[in-house]
Amino acid sequence: MTAFLELQDLTKSFYGIAAVKGVSLNIKTGQTLGLIGQNGAGKSTLMNLIGGVVHPDSGEMRLTEKLYAPRTPADAQRAGIAFIHQELNLFTNLTIAENIFITGFPRKGVLGSIDTAKIKSLTRDLLASVGLQLDPSTNVDRISPGERQLVEIAKALYQDASLIIFDEPTTSLTARETERLFAIMNQLRQQGKGLVYISHILGDVKKLADEIAIMRDGELVAYEPASAFSIQRMIAQMVGRSIEQLYPPRTAAPTNMPLLAVEGVNAAGIVKEISFTLHKGEVLGLFGLMGSGRTELARMIFGIDAFERGNIRVEGESITSPSPRKSIRHKIAFVTENRREEGLLMSIDIANNISLVSLLDFAGGLISVIDQREMTAAAQQTAQVLQLKSGDIRYQHAKALSGGNQQKVVIAKWLLSEPMIFIMDEPTRGIDVGAKYEIYTIIDRLASEGSGVLIISSELDELIGLCDRILVMSRGEIYGEFSREQFQEETILRAAFRQDDTAIPHNHDGVREEAGKQD
């Protein structure tokens, strides 16, 4: 059990915010390292450093004692490091065998054609080693996500990886597929491979890992053999004391007048039986781990994606086949989680970005001529309210702003349309503390004016500081609900990990297990 990959004091910052701070780890051959932490704790950045996707600001890595500094993912691959991501990188128009051998086909004959028989038999062996009995000539688009994941592992094995990193591998797997995965992981351990397992399913991590490392706010807060951890301790250390964040006092209490009612929303494979109500003057938080379905749900409520069964009601009025335009007409606003792709027009000036939803409000006449001055003035005013720091909003492009200011532009855009319901998906992601406070103030003000705010966030303290109620989503379902009196970080977090005492634990199929089968 020698140290295979050593990380020494790695640090990496993005735009001045440290994503990974002074992390030192050893990944040993024949062992599994479990890596856990909340969203934004730094796990992905750490993996990206190992994988050559980004480069460290300071610190170094050593692979079997030698300096390891990959410039590209290809370097990492060559060094024997393989990733099994949640986002699979298979080509859906090729067969399993072709996917595995895409950059290293064995050739035969004078024309150098692909030795089909050989890749088929090699693939069969590889698939067998991961417990799959598929025909190597099957097209990838015909196999299930679980099977695709195993193919990725087979690919990693073919590339003779010595270190395999699993990033949230079980989210779309059935129980049986998960068991198979674990069996294979065990096999790989015994073959002397080093494994890293990142997951939110703490029970699994505890079962699989030899050592567990816990990250919080970019730092390594615990790193000990798995036996030293109980689920309680894991959660407690993930929560810890975070950066001092001030939250403005709430100026008004929520009412119990229903504003937005979500009734029985279902979409197979994505969300199941979602029902909740947002009231006037309420700030409702939606918490959950990454991949729990919150964004998908928000998009369905707003009408960007379709759902199969269920109903959306605004002030009692049902919205049939929701669409963004209908939602906007019903005074719903949606700040998406990826402002660059879906929230902003990057190469267009700030003023036009801010006025995008409300264009018609500033126009008149038969052909909707815009009163430019009125529009710019309104945009300017909103920008000022949000304390937007930018150049002249008429000329500066959204692209040139910092993340925090970009987010303010998005919020300004929706504010200008004077909505009653504000859905915000990770509104303070990538924003500095000062700007965050300003956004919290705005949220409070919206609520006190009678609007309802549904805020999706992965930062639990933020939700605790802002919200009147918090819903917890897990694997596409509403798993728990907490009112202000019940706000307690550990409890809520445990719910998100499906480790709470109150709810009966579910297994991977969402089928309730018998009570008492807990760690």
Binding site: R325, T336, E341, E342, N352, V357, I367, I370
Partner: protein
């Protein structure tokens, strides 16, 4: 390729010399193309004195107007991030249908095999409006309506069926070009009403330069200055610019061309906007068709054929319209068209064969694309500071 080398070398000079900064501001200026055109003109006039004569200038200006109308249509579509390959055949088709409506007399030996022959649409006495004083007006209205309809069909197929604009407009281009040839058996339709012809050749204001020797001034010495096509085109340009910069519709166009997803999430009815833009494109093509047909005095099924498309895209790209969408202006297109007309003028004066001229145009377009890429990069860098 030498210009590319020179530019590369200029980039590698270490500090931001004042020359480099001037060059950058020159490149980025909104009037870049205008300056280029003027410089070109002055330089070329030295080598080809005929270029500078009033007669030539007047002639070239008259060439500009129809081209401007159709370049505007393409500008609209490009800003949206699409493309309209059918403008040429829309021109031909509307030209033909308009002529059929307006014709005062039709030669049986030409058209007796046309599918419409013998019906009220095509008789030896002319088309459906033969003999009527409303012929010209109705004809023009029919042409405009038809162009808009073709645009609607394009837009509908693109938005409803999610088809690539390139393929859809290619198909409609083939279809309507064929349709026009079928209706006319590839003959040109003449015998159009006088009123229509004045639209093409009539002046509102003309100029005579030179000594007034006798009271009779030769017709060819009178230079058309403000003609009907001039008024129509410039009017169209002003309206188009207004639409783009001052209306909600224009903002929505730029928005969709920049990022369709973000626009839809912000409530922009992208389908309706896209369809209407293609309708406008068809409309402008019809306007251009009116001008060309009036000027030629015939309904011509092959109108708009050949490499017209290349000219239009070239003019638009030179004028700063991006092929990726989200960027463009009528003013830029105006200068682009001016540049192109001048370029053609020079190349013709050099007595090169038409295909060689096309080749040069092709090179210019490659350069225009390169300049566009360079400008985008410079703008990005400037914005970041």
């Amino acid at each position: 390729m030498t210009t590319l080398d020179q530019r590369q070398r200029a980039k590698t000079t270490s500090s931001d010399s004042s020359v480099k900064r001037f060059a950058q501001s020159f490149l980025l200026s909104d009037y870049f193309v205008l300056y280029l055109t003027l410089i070109f003109f002055v330089t070329a006039a030295v080598f080809f004195p005929t270029l500078g004569t009033p007669g030539n200038i007047s002639n070239q200006l008259q060439n500009m107007w129809p081209l401007l109308a159709i370049a505007i249509s393409q500008t609209f579509v490009l800003i949206l991030g699409g493309i309209d390959l059918s403008v040429g055949s829309t021109m031909g088709f509307t030209s033909v249908v308009g002529a059929i409506v307006m014709a005062q007399t039709l030669d049986p030996s030409f058209f007796d095999r046309s599918p419409l022959w013998g019906t009220i649409f095509m008789r030896p006495e002319g088309g459906i409006m033969a003999g009527s004083e409303w012929a010209t007006l109705v004809g023009i209205l029919v042409m405009l309506a038809l162009g808009t309809l073709i645009g609607f069909l394009n837009g509908f197929a693109i938005t409803r069926f999610n088809l690539a604009p390139f393929m859809v407009t290619l198909v409609s281009s083939t279809f309507f070009a064929g349709f026009a040839l079928w209706l006319t058996q590839s003959r040109n339709i003449s015998g159009l009403p006088e009123a229509f012809l004045t639209l093409g050749k009539g002046d509102i204001i003309s100029i005579y330069l030179g000594p007034k020797l006798t009271s009779d001034i030769a017709r060819r010495d009178i230079l058309p200055f403000i003609t009907y096509p001039f008024v129509i085109s410039v009017g169209l340009a002003i309206a188009a610019q207004f639409l783009l910069s001052r209306t909600v519709f224009g903002r929505r166009m730029f928005s969709i061309g920049t990022n369709r997803r973000a626009s839809e999430i912000s409530g922009i009815p992208s389908r309706s906007v896209i369809t209407r833009v293609y309708m406008l494109s068809g409309f402008c093509a019809a306007v251009a068709s009116v001008m060309y047909s009036a000027r030629l005095g015939i309904g011509q099924p092959s109108l708009g054929g050949g490499n017209l498309l290349l000219d239009i895209i070239g003019a638009a790209v030179i004028g700063g319209t991006s092929l990726f969408g989200g960027k463009g202006s009528v003013r830029g297109t105006f200068f682009g068209v001016a540049f192109f007309v001048l370029l053609l003028n020079i190349l013709n004066a050099m007595r090169l064969s038409p295909f060689v001229i096309d080749a040069v145009k092709g090179v210019i377009i490659l350069l225009a694309a390169l300049i566009d890429i360079t400008r985008t990069r410079l703008i990005n860098r400037e914005q970041r500071s």
